[in-house]
Point group: C2
Chain length 168, copies 2
DNA sequence: AATATCTTTCATTTATTTTTGAAAGTTTAA
DNA sequence: TTAAACTTTCAAAAATAAATGAAAGATATT
């Protein structure tokens, strides 16, 4: 396989995976493009490589900055902005986990906590089923949460090393 | 808060979380409804509770069966099909993890493996960056994969218990 | 302060996903 | 075998999400 073909395949695969996990396909593709680029790229480069509009490229790049996955760079003597992706995959995984936890998990954990407190007739099967399910899910969600907190602080080698050690 | 209101809130929250993670909102809502229902429900019940069409209810229920999250039940002397949700949240989490791994992670890991093998000019920065990023991601994905395999076999208490032990 | 270069915005358009509901299909029972 | 009860299908409609591109907004340069 040629490098050019391989690049396209990677960008495509990353975009597909992203879209399956609720991340805009284009955003995942732009991220993929920058990930495998040794140089920082301009908006024009991104537009050309992926055949997308200026508006789309601009918004997507801003979003990626919001996720902490890329950063702006300025070259001396040039006005154009360049974009460069964080290359350490463990850092990437942590950033994504961190953001999604903050944006999606935390709010739902809060609601689950409230729903756990709802009082009702302990003889009512509907209430019992509700309370029991919500309590269980709340507990699991909190466990996931704690595990994520740990992961956010951990080094990759330590994290996976420790997990594999106890489970081998 | 009333039970009725709490139920709605739970269904809404579950639907939102699902849609943020690439799972059809209605499917997540139907799942939520069945999760907190002590009794198995019919298609009619689901249609009424969530105000959705027959076609939608039918397809969604079939999908949920495909995910291993609900099952059909038959009551003696009745023709109607009833649907009942698995209530053990750890089993639910495992089923979802299992399916998503199979549907989404495994294919991408396969592609990454292939891309890791792509040969090129070791002096070319573009090739070096590509190879290095792809290799790193491939390694991380395989670690995630192994961790999921472990989780799929584990008991919840053992899984989280062990993780907390080493990270406290 | 006028111009050139680059970035951002956002009303429209386009594409994708989801839902509907009527019709067709299936199964049971009289 | 007919009809009633229930389930599934799928083309069309509706809802949602994403992309476009021209215009407006910045910022630096002459």
């Amino acid at each position: 396989m040629e490098l050019a073909e391989a690049k396209l395949k990677f960008i495509e695969a990353w975009g597909k995976l992203g879209s399956e996990w609720g991340i805009n396909r284009t955003m995942a593709q732009v991220h993929a493009l920058l990930l495998i680029s040794p140089e920082a790229l301009t908006t024009e480069d991104v537009m050309a490589e992926l055949s997308i509009s200026r508006g789309n490229a601009n918004m997507t790049l801003r979003d990626l900055i919001g996720w902490g996955l890329i950063e702006k760079q300025h070259k001396t003597g040039e006005r154009k902005e360049y974009f460069y992706a964080e290359k350490d995959t463990w850092v990437i995984a942590r950033r994504v986990a961190e953001e999604r936890k903050k944006r999606e998990l935390d709010p739902v954990i809060k609601i689950l906590g409230q729903l756990t407190e709802v009082k009702g007739d302990k003889k009512d099967p509907a209430f019992k089923a509700f309370h029991s399910s919500v309590t269980d899910i709340s507990r699991l969600a909190n466990n996931v949460n704690k595990t994520l907190d740990t992961m956010l602080k951990a080094e990759e080698s330590w994290f996976f090393g420790s997990i594999f050690k106890i489970f081998k």
